[in-house]
């Protein structure tokens, strides 16, 4: 009995050992192939991230030696900083408005483009153009358009519409930032969703049409569920980038007027690179990190309810 057992197990054990050895050997080779990017990731991602975590517990001012201050930066952030809650509110407001509008507009454009008989490719290129235009350049041009006495004001007065100058109005300034962000950001999602829509098998739609489903039903019950994984990807990525919004605000409003457009991304720049409070800026960065993590986790949790994977 024992002999039989042994003879039965020995070959499999030695096979496992051989496989194991092979794995180790392959693993080692793979490790060397991965090493260049691993070094890059450690040097430029892991180390700075850990450094910023350490910095957030110091009062480093770029010049001089950092001193350990415990949780003082975080305490100041949540209790005494008069601007922080406004900044957080602005960031969430911008994210919510921009995310919803971006998804609706880009989905609308994607559906429209995919319904076109001719020129699909051209429209895709046209809408994608702003995506590879530098964000700063886009923001500068829009800043000149919206500046007091600028082109927008001229246009409004030419058609006798009384609106306050956009960038000096507390409510409109944020809307201007949203408009510019949409102009620059919609193209990417449009192309993404358009590609997904084109992948929807034509026979599904054909079958639905024969069964008498209306265009609205075909969109709502077939195409949308089938592109939901792409829609989910687009939503998550857009949410992350909108929580980090910076370029447009840096160029157009510098967080103003007042704190109307001050967001987390801009606050990090302002505290860190204008006021040289690196420790404090790092603590804001970690709050932003936590916020992005939480929101992304929430989206992943919610996706179970609305994202349909084919298999």
């Amino acid at each position: 009995m024992t002999i039989a057992q042994e003879s039965a197990t020995t070959p499999s054990r030695s096979a496992a050992r051989r496989r194991n050895r092979l794995d180790i050997k392959e693993g080692r080779t793979a490790f060397f192939f991965l090493l260049p990017s691993l070094i890059g990731v450690i040097l430029f991602l892991v180390v700075p991230i850990l450094a910023s975590l350490v910095l957030s517990f110091t009062n480093w001012k770029l010049l001089g030696k950092p001193e350990f201050v415990g949780f003082a930066n975080y305490v100041r952030l949540f209790s005494t900083d008069p601007q922080f809650w406004a900044v957080l509110r602005n960031t969430l407001f911008f994210t919510a408005e921009y995310l919803v509008l971006n998804i609706i507009i880009s989905l609308g454009l994607a559906v429209w483009i995919s319904s076109l008989k001719v020129g699909q490719r051209w429209f895709r290129v046209i809408f994608f153009l702003p995506t590879f235009t530098p964000g700063i350049a886009v923001a500068i041009v829009w800043m000149l358009i919206f500046a007091p006495g600028g082109f927008f004001d001229f246009l409004m007065s030419a058609i006798s519409v009384q609106v306050p100058s956009v960038l000096t109005d507390q409510t409109l300034a944020m809307q201007a930032v949203v408009v510019v962000s949409l102009w620059a950001g919609v193209g990417y999602n449009t192309v993404l969703f358009n590609a997904a829509l084109d992948m929807v098998p034509a026979n599904y739609l054909e079958a639905a049409r024969i069964d008498g489903a209306s265009a609205w039903d075909r969109f709502w019950k077939i195409r949308l569920p089938l592109i939901s994984p792409t829609l989910f990807f687009g939503t998550v990525m857009t949410a992350i980038t909108s929580l980090q919004v910076f370029d447009q605000i840096y160029v157009m409003t510098r967080g103003g007027p007042g704190s109307a457009t001050a967001t987390l991304g801009y606050a990090i720049y302002q505290k860190g690179f204008q006021n040289f409070q690196m420790g404090y800026a790092s603590s804001i960065a970690w709050v932003m990190f936590a916020l992005i993590m939480a929101l992304t986790a929430l989206q992943f949790w919610l996706q179970r309810k609305w994202v349909h994977y084919d298999n």
């Binding site: 007091p148 100058s165 690179f273």
Partner: protein, 405 residues
């Protein structure tokens, strides 16, 4: 045989002499970091050449970065040990950055340099706690630029040297006609303007106290020109520091406040006659703050002695003459200021009288390490007082609450 010995001796002597000259002439390469762009290279290289002409063993190489980047790079370069030997510094940034510079007092004393050859307010501006950290190449007070054609068209007398805020206000209102504003406000007006009116934004301990009655009142006077009299457009926080110059140059604003450092560019970019006047005074005497820039020796430099020698040439009379004649800078050296008046300010009415008057009435520009925070907050929050969303008092309280104490 004898001849061979003599020849050998001569060769030996010659080679040792050569070695001696070589060691005396060992070149010291100094780097010189400052703001600017490629177009400045020729001018500043000509200054660097002056150093080599005076000290053949010292070679200075200028390095430029844009104005905004300069102040981000400076602390990064300093903390990573890559700072240049000679470092450009602006008086308003001195409280934040003096620690990267070498105190110059001992060098100045050893050299016997006469500090009185420089304009006193900028020497003060480039020192910190009484220690000199840099020598100036330019200086200037904030002053009022005005469009002489518009003054003439409105039948107004041109500003007097000791004009009051009420005169300024009356002119601004009179010059506001149709699409044209009498004045285009910018963020820094709420620093230089109130000072000229006699107000202080600091308490006696050199800490921000921007809610004191005098300062609030003075800021309100300027803000009312926009919010009540509609004599100026509101500036947007994104472009708060520069929008006025654009409007002035375009002819859609008759007055704005800036320094003499923009005079050359302004003069060349407008198609009307411009004049300059001191900032208007309040009830008391006129008083003006000045700012300027200079160069210092990096505390981390390996060649401080040579760097100071170079600095002496770069801020010397000849260099000042070159910069002034090019219109690049109103020299911090008093004797060379005439070159600037004769060249850059040639067609600008009242420049010499105005600047001389303002230097005579200069007051120390009080700064602390949070100065940059304050300027940014003014740019960000003043538009709310200008568009009437908040009162001046509320805006200044907001700013005060955000300034580190």
């Amino acid at each position: 045989m004898k001849i061979t010995y003599v020849l050998a001796a001569a060769l030996l002597a010659g080679s040792s002499m050569l070695a001696a000259t070589a060691s005396a002439q060992e070149t010291v390469n100094l780097t010189w970091q400052m703001w600017g762009d490629e177009s400045d290279t020729a001018l500043f290289t000509s200054l660097a050449d002056l150093v080599t002409a005076e000290y053949p063993n010292i070679k200075v190489t200028p390095q430029f970065s844009g104005w905004t980047d300069y102040w981000t790079r400076l602390p990064v370069l300093a903390s990573s040990g890559q700072i240049a030997d000679l470092v450009a510094m602006q008086s308003m940034r001195m409280p934040s950055f003096y620690s990267v510079l070498e105190p110059l007092d001992s060098y100045i004393a050893a050299d016997g340099m006469d500090k009185a050859e420089f304009e006193s307010s900028i020497m003060n501006g480039l020192s910190h706690d009484g220690v000199q950290y840099a020598l100036p190449y330019d200086v200037g007070p904030w002053l009022v630029y005005y469009n002489r054609d518009k003054f003439a068209a409105a039948g107004l007398a041109e500003p007097a040297l000791d004009w009051t805020f009420d005169d300024f206000k009356a002119d601004a209102i009179a010059l506001t006609q149709g699409e044209t504003f009498g004045y285009a406000t910018q963020a820094f007006d709420y620093v230089a303007g109130p000072i000229a009116l006699g107000a202080e934004y600091f308490n006696d301990a050199n800490q921000f106290d921007v809610t004191n009655a005098g300062y609030v009142d003075a800021v309100k006077k300027y803000a009312d020109l926009t919010v009540a009299d509609k004599a100026s457009p509101v500036f947007a926080s994104g472009a708060g520091a520069i929008s006025g110059s654009g409007r002035f140059a375009a002819g859609s604003a008759a007055m704005y406040i800036d320094g003499p450092w923009v005079l050359l560019n302004t003069k060349d970019s407008v198609d009307f006659k411009i004049g300059v006047a001191p900032l208007p005074r309040g009830e008391g005497d006129s008083r003006f703050i000045t700012a300027g820039s200079g160069w210092g020796v990096a505390a981390a430099s390996q060649h401080k002695e040579e760097a100071f020698k170079a600095l002496k040439v770069l801020t010397g009379p000849k260099a000042a003459e070159i910069l002034a004649s090019a219109g690049r800078a109103l020299p911090g050296r008093l004797a060379q200021q005439d070159f600037w008046y004769d060249v850059a300010a040639k067609d600008v009415s009242g420049t010499r009288e105005t600047l001389k008057f303002m230097f005579e009435h200069s007051t120390p520009f009080r700064l602390n390490e949070y100065w940059n925070d304050f300027e940014n907050l003014l740019t960000q929050y003043m538009p709310l007082a200008l568009n009437g969303d908040k009162t001046t008092q509320e805006v200044l309280s907001d700013i005060q609450s955000q300034l580190p104490m």
